[in-house]
Amino acid sequence: MAQPHSPAIRRYARRLTLFMGSFMVLMLAMGWLFRHAPPPAPWNIALAILPALPVLGVVWTVMRLLVEEQDEFWRMLFVRQALIATGFCLGVTTIWDFLQNFDVLPAGHHGFGAAFFWFMGLGVGAIWNGFELRRMEQNAAADEAS
């Protein structure tokens, strides 16, 4: 979204880069480790959880943005984006669950956890906000011209 670069947005971008980078590194490292030298219990539990931590970090990053953004209109847009993401995630996972319950789809999520769909939902929310902002700008331009 074309938001002015507030300090909160800059912190959000830095945190997001850090957590997404960590996720990629940990995902590749754990994938390699579990394929070539599967760790024994209980280390396998701790190591399997490691790539999930940066994902939780991304969720925390989004929540911090809602707290730290000082521009209340933009904060409202970010809250709406998060709500759209939550609705999208719940919708997809609920439908997926029922398709599995009635054996239409095989069991398991094949690596696509709830967080994946929540992040997809953030994208949907960003597109929605973008349309809304564009429409507001067009209305304002039409008002100025009239």
Binding site: F73, L133, M136, E137, A140, D143
Partner: protein, 63 residues
């Protein structure tokens, strides 16, 4: 909620960005309030009133 923001801003000869700078908010916020897409919080409404030197009820009108 209806408001007279656009008229008041025009009387001062301010652009949306000028008003946004005075309020310390984004230009999009001013645009959203002016077009009635967003109702400001009470603290921001008071800041608007201060900027224009008017009571809140002279800026915001009941539907």
């Amino acid at each position: 909620m209806n408001n007279r923001l656009r008229v008041l801003r025009a009387e001062k000869g301010w652009s949306q960005q000028d008003l946004a700078d005075r309020l310390e908010v984004s230009r999009q916020s001013v645009n959203a309030i002016e077009t009635g897409k967003y109702d400001p919080s009470l603290p921001l409404a008071f800041r608007l009133a201060d900027v224009f030197g008017l009571p809140i009820e002279s800026i915001f009108l009941r539907d």
